[in-house]
């Protein structure tokens, strides 16, 4: 063989057109397509080996003049055709090293690492195989506007990606109807976010467990703030934002109020829903709100009435004692006047969270409530007993005397 090789090298340099073969020349794309364009060419299991010439030509690799063996590197040295069915995996990292390095940090890679049978995505699941187009191409699977559809092939299918322990709601699928999804897919806004704007492209980390994830709980404000810059500044300054920075795990981040994927504009439905989101932690504030006109009207499903954020603001929330708070004594009147034009300083002394059980908050209100309770209990106790005693006697009287005592007059023997 060694001798043959030397001979072949000699022959190749001396007479290139000589037909003798070894060492093998890497097959040209046309050579591959000789078989791979034949629809009748099948694997042992009957699946076709077809490669779409046009799709490859239109792909980013085809357009760049890449040859089949650039990716299928083990075939570059093969002379035996048809080659064995089982080939080495294509290693995208040979060209795309940094992307693959990022991918290795992802939840997708971690899932695949756990089990060979994992359906977690890797390069081709998102990018395609022979028809990979550059993201700039509107037909690309990873085009800015197409990415949600690509991700939702798996994440919109509970059979592939079951809910993370919670109720079987297909959270990512809600994206289509969210304000982001509509802006992206219906309005075609290039600055509307798709999945990767929040989750990253290759280094998609587990948001629940990986503190490096761009959507890990504490990272969410910064991620949303990439676009919502002014809101991030307001939030960071607020009691919620400062507490988050101090490591308080209970404070709300963006997604607690806005949800992660079903984000909508501030509609009437949202205005009602916010009460339960704020009220989830601020339980007593929700209870006292419900006792006042604002809360009563709201509870009947009418949203055009002050709810939490109307007085406390949505993002610049400070404790009432903080002079920056919209409900601080100095700012309260202005806050009331947002709805109650012409309100006076006296007006703003109304307590929208009055609590009849809280003696310390207002002694007068507490005492009034107690008086009313005693009055109601007294009246109903008295007349309740009165009625209960009267009823059987009245039944007897009706039986004996007739309605309105009409039969009583005749005998005149009223008891």
């Amino acid at each position: 063989m060694r001798f043959g090789g030397v001979l072949a090298a000699f022959l190749l340099t001396a007479a290139p057109l000589q037909a003798a073969a070894p060492p093998p020349k890497p097959p040209a794309n046309e050579d591959c397509l000789a078989c791979h364009e034949d629809p009748s060419a099948k694997r042992a299991n009957g699946s076709p080996v077809l490669v779409d010439r046009a799709a490859f030509a239109a792909s980013v690799h085809g357009a760049a003049g890449a040859s089949c063996v650039d990716c299928h590197q083990d075939l570059a040295k093969t002379a035996d055709f048809p080659h064995p069915e089982k080939l080495a995996s294509v290693d995208c990292a040979s060209c795309h090293a940094s992307e693959v390095a990022d991918y290795e940090k992802s939840v997708h890679a971690a899932e695949r690492g756990k089990s060979k049978a994992s359906k977690a995505a890797w390069c081709t699941d998102c990018h395609g195989i022979h028809d990979i187009r550059p993201s700039k191409d509107p037909a690309s699977r990873t085009n800015h506007f197409n990415l949600p559809t690509t991700c939702l092939k798996c994440h919109g299918n509970l059979a592939v990606v079951p809910g993370a322990g919670g109720p079987p709601v297909n959270q990512p699928a809600l994206f289509h109807d969210s304000i982001h999804g509509r802006a992206l897919e219906k309005s075609g806004l290039k600055f509307a976010p798709n999945c990767s704007n929040c989750h990253g492209a290759h280094a998609i980390r587990n948001p629940k467990t990986d503190a490096e994830s761009s959507v890990y709980r504490t990272k969410i404000p910064a991620t949303c703030g990439n676009c919502h810059e002014k809101i991030l500044a307001e939030y960071s300054d607020s009691i919620h934002g400062t507490q988050l920075a101090k490591g308080n795990p209970k404070v709300p981040v963006c997604s607690d109020c806005h949800t992660a994927h079903a984000i909508t504009a501030v509609t009437d439905v949202r205005r009602l829903a916010i009460l339960h989101q704020c009220g989830g932690c601020h339980e007593s504030s929700l209870a006292t709100y419900r006792d006042t006109y604002h809360g009563q009207v709201n509870a009947m499903g009418f949203s055009r009435i002050a709810t939490c954020a109307d007085c406390h603001t949505a993002h610049q929330i400070h404790p009432a004692g903080d002079p920056r708070a919209s409900v601080a004594p100095a700012n309260r009147l202005g806050t009331c006047q947002k709805c109650h034009a012409g309100a006076t300083a006296n007006f703003s002394r109304y307590d929208p969270h009055a609590n009849t059980h809280d003696k310390g908050r207002s002694r007068l209100l507490w005492a009034t409530a107690l008086f009313m309770k005693i009055l109601l209990a007294g009246v109903f106790a008295f007349f309740g007993i009165h009625t209960v005693l009267w009823f059987p006697r009245s039944l007897k009287a009706r039986a004996a005397e007739g309605r309105g005592g009409r039969r009583a007059g005749k005998g005149h023997g009223a008891p």
Binding site: M300, G301, H340, A369, R393, A397, G409, A414
Partner: protein, 279 residues
């Protein structure tokens, strides 16, 4: 207006309430029902029926506007009653409305009648000999009078908070809101249970007493229910003065319709209210 003392059925009818009294009761009843139906939903705003009732009136804004319309009706009621009282007192010098058997002012005999009435309930004595107004009727009257002041006063404050806030501290609206709601609850439950029972639904009156709508009742009924007043009228020759024609079948029919609607609406609302309160 044919004047015949013994009516077709052979009974003598006497007038108990004049046209003014009857109109006042109709206006009071209509405005009270309207105020209840538009106001009570707020007190039980977490119940599905509250939202439904509010939507029935066209949403909370429309319901609030209607509430004020009914409130104006009730204020008209209260105002005209006060005006008539003033006329009877200062114009006609009817001082007997201030004290005595035909006055609504509570008097020692009312307490005695209550005691005797309860004894009668228990089978330990004769029925008290009531006069023109029984103690429970006086309670009804003064409860409404007090309610007018409390609910009406707090309601007027809540009607125009920005105006009142020029003179009064804002905490007052919290107080006003509380007593408006609590007192209204008292009024609604009281009227639609106790007043209905005392006036209409108790077996001796069942299904209803139409005297407040027709204004007249048979003399024998007066004699049975209010013997003291009957004796007084006989002594004063008042029977002839108050003798009236029997109510026409048409008027009785209309009275029953109006009464049935009012009682039904009231009972329906109080049923919802009591279920909400007790659950």
């Amino acid at each position: 207006m044919t004047e015949k003392a013994p009516a077709a059925d052979g009974r003598v009818w006497v007038r108990r309430f004049d046209r003014f009294d009857r109109s006042l009761h109709i206006l009071l009843m209509a405005s009270f029902l309207g105020l209840s139906l538009t106001g009570v939903p707020l007190l039980f705003s977490d119940r599905p029926w509250a939202a439904g009732l509010s939507r029935l009136f066209g949403g909370f804004r429309a319901a609030a506007t209607l509430h004020r319309v009914f409130a104006a009706g009730m204020l008209l009621c209260f105002g005209s009653h006060l005006a008539r009282l003033a006329k009877r007192l200062f114009g006609d010098k009817e001082y007997e409305i201030l004290w005595g058997p035909s006055s609504l002012v509570p008097q020692p005999r009312d307490f005695m009648e209550l005691v005797h009435h309860v004894r009668w309930f228990l089978g330990r004595g004769a029925r008290p000999r009531f006069d023109r107004f029984t103690y429970w009727e006086k309670f009804d009257y003064w409860a409404v009078f007090w309610g007018m002041g409390i609910i009406g006063g707090s309601g007027l404050i809540l009607w125009a908070p920005k105006f009142w806030a020029r003179f009064l501290p804002g905490d007052l609206f919290n107080i006003a809101l509380l007593i408006h709601g609590e007192e209204a609850l008292l009024a609604v439950v009281f009227i639609f249970t106790i007043h209905f029972f005392n006036g209409h639904l108790r077996p001796e009156k069942f299904p209803m007493d139409t005297v407040i709508f027709t204004g007249v009742l048979p003399l024998e009924e007066l004699k049975h229910e209010r013997p003291s007043e009957y004796d007084r009228l006989v002594a004063e020759g008042g029977v002839e003065r108050l003798a009236s024609p029997a109510p026409t079948a048409d008027r009785v029919f209309k009275s029953r319709i109006i009464g049935t609607i009012a009682v039904s609406l009231g009972l329906l609302l109080v049923a919802f209210t009591l279920i909400a309160l007790l659950s």
